[in-house]
């Protein structure tokens, strides 16, 4: 019983990390029809930057800020320099995101040499906590809390604020949004930047949990894609359901069938696609 509680909590924590990564991808895909395959690379870059900041300053909070800013910056640059020039050419945008992902991956190798590293959680959260009869790392609870906070905030912003209405309008119907006077280019820039900002945030949050190593970017990318496909493009709640499902599957899978565990992650995608090609909670 204890084993299952730990596995479930681990799965939820992992799911929350996936959520942070996937929601940016999903929103950008839904609004701009850009499948940003560099999202994994953004995560990795921010992870390593966070690591360096911790090495220099010992401060986890500073690393978190640095990683988040790294994510934001790289996203803004990518959108402005590349995506904007390829507006409307979704095929080209996907391909160029692959090129950018490859470049970032190699730059990371050049700077940090390919050593797997990790960040230690801040002292405040380094302990384990007693929960339902098991000892569980407080840091992972922190990840779960952060993920929930982001999810709730996003839902509130999307549903209750003017900014949210603007974003939703831009997702639903670009032409009308433009006609209503909404500066679509700015909305695009901010949305893309927000997505990559979350990737950067996730990068530092996830480092104590997943470690940081070359190849992690490509390992996480398909999982994000599965979350988006399963959850429904552009759907926040779909992303939550999808990432939790995947997070739990990953942990149970590793525990029960380690040889096939990565493979079993894709089974729900296959099943969902067979039954509902639009995903669990399609926006339309």
């Amino acid at each position: 019983m204890q084993f299952w509680i730990v596995q479930t909590l681990n799965g939820v924590a992992y799911g929350m990390l996936l959520f942070l990564l996937s929601i940016g991808l999903s929103l950008v895909l839904g609004m701009m029809q850009i499948a940003n395959l560099a999202q994994g690379a953004f995560y990795l870059l921010a992870s390593y930057v966070g690591y360096s900041v911790v090495q220099r300053t010992g401060s986890f909070s500073l690393a978190l800020v640095a990683g988040t800013l790294t994510g934001l910056t790289i996203g803004l640059v990518t959108e402005r320099v590349f995506m904007r020039r390829l507006r409307g050419r979704t095929h080209s945008q996907v391909l160029i995101s692959v090129g950018i992902a490859l470049i970032i991956a190699d730059v990371v190798l050049i700077i940090w040499r390919g050593d797997p590293v990790t960040i230690r959680p801040p002292a405040l959260l380094a302990e384990s906590v007693d929960l339902w009869g098991v000892r569980f790392p407080a840091y992972r609870l922190f990840i779960i809390a952060c993920g929930l906070l982001v999810a709730v905030t996003l839902n509130l912003v999307m549903g209750r604020t003017r900014l949210g209405a603007i974003v939703r309008a831009s997702v639903d119907n670009q032409e009308m949004a433009r006609a209503m006077g909404i500066d679509i280019e700015r909305v695009f820039l901010l949305t893309f930047g927000f997505g990559s900002l979350l990737a950067g945030f996730a990068g530092v949050m996830g480092a104590p949990f997943l470690s940081v190593y070359p190849g992690l970017d490509w390992e996480l990318l398909p999982l994000m894609l599965v979350v988006v496909v399963v959850g429904g493009i552009g759907s926040i709640n779909g992303a939550i359901v999808g990432s939790l499902t995947l997070g739990l599957l990953d942990n149970y899978g590793r525990a029960l069938f380690p040889n096939l565990s990565y493979f079993t992650l894709f089974v729900p995608m296959i099943v969902i696609l067979a039954v509902r090609p639009g995903g669990l909670m399609p926006r339309r």
């Binding site: 499948a35 692959v98 096939l260």
Partner: protein
């Protein structure tokens, strides 16, 4: 032009050493790989980000056949081709429920699922270490194709056969239906085509030849590892197609040649091949969307339209 190229491919290796011939063989193998992908990208209009799956399945099945089941090159090849078709039948049924960007994402995820299998199921696949097996073909009247040159000519023969087959295929009514689907699937459906079936067959055909490339590569190198199944491999194949020019077949082969040679040269000088690959991607997408064949075509048009003026005579066009 094709005759000249064939002549070149036949004669030049006679003057080259083992290693350059090895690279040239690799060029031909990846040309097959890229051309098979061009069917999907250039002709059907569906960009698959998981083509490495078939390359890898072909390679692994062939090596496992040779290594664990003691099969010859020929029977391993048949076994591997069957495995590839089986995977394509399953993957195609799943992936073709979508199109466009979801199709890209799902094909990527499916291939990655196989990578995970190869990576973790060490007892069958050798995990990260891969599997090694000497599996050169035994050709009647010729013997065992051990040397670089001998295997090169074998692959060249296969390459020519594949080019012929694919060229016929894309010009056939069935092949033309693919272009129809690419241009407007709705229109094709209204005219009465069962488009899903056409797409499915295109997908399986593309997979078949992709797997063939994987088998040939496993035989060339005597080795297979999860690297054959990576996103990098799929992405490289896509670059070969778009660099050369999608929808031309020749473009894909050309793109393969450029990338394989470039990779060989760059890798001998530096470790930064991924960086070069990334830059090539960005440059190709931003500045050469029609690929090298597209550039070539535009160059020819300019020459054609300029000639009459230079010759001082009105053009017949």
């Amino acid at each position: 032009m094709p005759g000249l190229s064939l002549l070149g491919l036949l004669l030049i290796p006679a003057f080259l050493g083992s290693y350059p011939v090895f690279v040239l063989t690799s060029v031909l193998i990846f040309a097959i790989f890229a051309m098979s992908l061009d069917i999907l990208i250039g002709y059907l209009g569906y960009t698959s980000f998981g083509h490495a799956a078939f390359f890898g399945v072909g390679a692994y099945a062939a090596v496992i056949g040779a290594l664990r089941l003691g099969q010859s090159f020929w029977s391993s090849t048949l076994l591997a081709l069957a495995a590839v078709v089986l995977v394509a039948v399953v993957f195609g049924a799943i992936a073709l429920r979508t199109a466009g960007l979801p199709f890209i994402m799902i094909t990527l995820a499916l291939a990655q699922a196989l990578w995970g299998l190869a990576h973790r199921w060490a007892s069958v696949t050798g995990g990260d270490n891969g599997l090694a097996a000497a599996m050169r073909p035994e050709v009647p009247f010729v013997g065992h194709l051990e040397s670089s040159h001998a295997y090169y000519y074998f692959v060249l023969a296969v390459f020519v056969a594949v080019v012929a087959a694919l060229s016929l295929l894309v010009r056939s009514p069935f092949g033309l239906s693919w272009r129809g689907i690419r241009d407007s699937e709705i229109r094709m459906q209204m005219v009465g085509y069962h488009t899903w079936l056409h797409k499915y067959v295109a997908y399986i055909t593309s997979a078949f030849f992709g797997g063939l490339a994987g088998i040939l590569n496993a035989s060339l190198t005597g080795f297979v590892s999860p690297d054959t199944l990576t996103i990098g491999n799929s992405a490289t194949a896509i670059l070969m197609v778009i660099l050369g020019g999608p929808g031309t077949l020749v473009g894909a082969a050309l793109g393969a040649g450029v990338i394989v040679v470039m990779r060989d040269i760059v890798s001998s000088v530096t470790e930064r091949w991924t960086l070069v690959l990334g830059f090539t991607y960005v440059v190709t997408v931003m500045f050469i969307p029609g690929g090298l064949m597209g550039l070539f075509g535009r160059l020819m048009m300019r020459i054609d339209s300029a000639a009459p003026l230079r010759a001082g005579r009105p053009s017949a066009r």
